[in-house]
Symmetry: C3
Subunit: 257 residues, 3 copies
């Protein structure tokens, strides 16, 4: 009966192992603050880089290459009983990783992340006008990558930030390989798996429209069937960089037993 016992600010749990999978226009460094905050709470954290991302990466990669990077990392580090967290595009990655190493995963956490239907491409899940926008950017690039314009990034990805913060975070973005976003994915096995699932939804994230047709939640989250819902405040990119302690609490609340 103590009000203080109930709060994400505590998010108590036994020590856990987290594997954190970033999204598009980011590298594994996206997780630096969050990983530090989780470790300070007593948890073990892995934030593997994947194909097409990281310093001097070859951008000519497939979705399967990306999945392989993560699976290889998990096997090489002999990871078991971990919570696998995917952000944004990373949702589609943890879907495919879960198909390959289901028995090693304790729980899947989708944080404002794509849950792609069997046979779809990730880009099938964004509105037509955004599809057109992204494909034009990719087709006009030399290497079929997408570089976000600042004005779009500022209002869609870091809407809660001040201008100075928006500029700083924009400098950290990278050009994103477009092929993994447009490939159709076989996800039959994913939707037959019985791994417990959570969806972490930050209510100011407007990268996808917050309507029934496209929203992170309840639209994409609803594809998980039964799942644990955790909500917090924040947009798509700012919390990882400027509220890592809060984000870590939310990830623990989503991932714990």
């Amino acid at each position: 009966m103590n009000d203080l016992n109930y709060s994400y600010a505590y998010a108590r749990s036994q020590p856990m192992t987290f594997v954190l999978i970033h999204g598009s226009w980011a590298n594994a460094g996206f997780w630096n603050g969050t990983a530090a905050a989780l470790r300070q709470m007593g948890h073990t954290v892995h934030a593997p880089e994947y194909a097409g991302h990281g310093p001097n990466a070859n951008k000519d990669v497939t979705h399967a290459d990306i999945t392989k990077s993560v699976v290889d990392y998990i096997l090489a580090h002999q990871l078991r009983d971990f919570v696998l967290v995917g952000h944004s595009f990373g949702g589609s990655v943890i879907q495919k990783v879960a198909e390959q190493v289901p028995d090693r995963i304790k729980r899947l956490v989708f944080w404002d992340a794509f849950v792609v239907n069997d046979g779809e491409a990730l880009i099938d899940n964004v509105p037509p006008q955004a599809q057109k926008f992204f494909l034009e950017l990719a087709n006009n690039s030399k290497d079929f990558t997408i570089t976000l314009p600042f004005s779009y990034f500022r209002d869609a990805f870091v809407n809660t930030a001040d201008y100075h913060t928006a500029q700083q975070l924009y400098k950290l973005t990278i050009s994103e390989p477009a092929k993994p976003l447009v490939e159709k994915l076989d996800l039959k096995k994913f939707f037959s798996l019985n791994i417990p699932k959570s969806y972490l939804y930050l209510t100011e994230d407007n990268v996808l429209p917050q309507n029934e047709a496209y929203s992170w939640h309840p639209h994409l989250s609803g594809r998980l069937g039964q799942f644990r819902l955790i909500k917090g405040h924040g947009d798509h990119f700012v919390p990882a960089y400027h509220q890592p302690a809060k984000l870590a609490q939310l990830i623990v609340a989503a991932g714990r037993d």
Copy 2:
């Protein structure tokens, strides 16, 4: 022009009388903390037990038996000018109680509660897969009751709790008579009543999917026509047990003139 004047934390009102109707898998003890908090704020509180619930209850009951328990209590205690609050399944109970004693009720407060359409059963308002799940549990029981599995309860009912709290609250749940959930209800009169109505929605309550087809709000709330909306944070069961003072403030904000 004083910021402090506007806040649920004050939720000022004249002393009121509340009648609190719990939901499924719970007893009247569900309200202990909230009732104490409301009384401390100067209000009078009744939390009647109803048929099929409470110690040594006969579980072979109908929805009409449950309604009768509450109406009998109201008449026996000569209650008038009270705010009638229903949580979850209790929403369907206060609909039927309102039909029988409309002139005694000052306002109806639905807290993440069912608002059943005329001719429907409560279970018609949950997704097909959940219907199937509940009916199988009932049919596999000795007495047509539903006992929630822990894994389902933990993610759906107490999603914001830590594991220890989830276990404690699970121990308080009871097997729920299924008949009142599957009976078709005549609610013609309810939808003709002119009693003021409020809907209290806790934004982390994911017992019903938070989409247009099934959500507590705006889907079920929308059936009330004009109503006062009050929102707070919390899931389906934790606030009553671990944030009773906050829940009491929200109930006062929903129930006051």
Copy 3:
């Protein structure tokens, strides 16, 4: 990596110029507290009164008259590079103003505001029963104006307030000219403009149903195409009067570069 850097409570920006356009049942005095708070933060604020509103106003006005009041004010004061904010009905006004002086406007901010489609009237965007209610009130008045009944205002406009505050705010409401609400509006040009746009959504605002068919957000906001989303707590009228400092922070977060 400092949590404090990210917060609407700071809402840092260079000094800006705001032009604030109120909604129905209000006068320019609606903005008094918010304007004072914005000025204290270093910004320049204009809150022009428009036709049909203000002391001794002639209530026989058209939507074009209202737009003209604001455009005339902007031209007379030689305003440029300003953020134009519309609340509620004021959304339709800033749509029409933007058509006439697009080059002077830095950004449009819609705060729980109508975004009317080309060829529609504002009233086409409220549910049928509310349309009927408003039109009956107008037709039963001497001068085709709408005076809100207290019970409706209390639950729909100031749902978060206590009764005393609700009564105080009700006394400030005025009868609203109905003609501008029912006139069909030509908005072809608006939807071709490239002015940056923000939508500020207060999550307890239930003047429009919070569903896919009628909501401020994501329904009406979605008509803006790409926009910056800012959210806060509050209902339709209370924040302007009782949380002006918080509202000012949200408006800055919506309006800044």
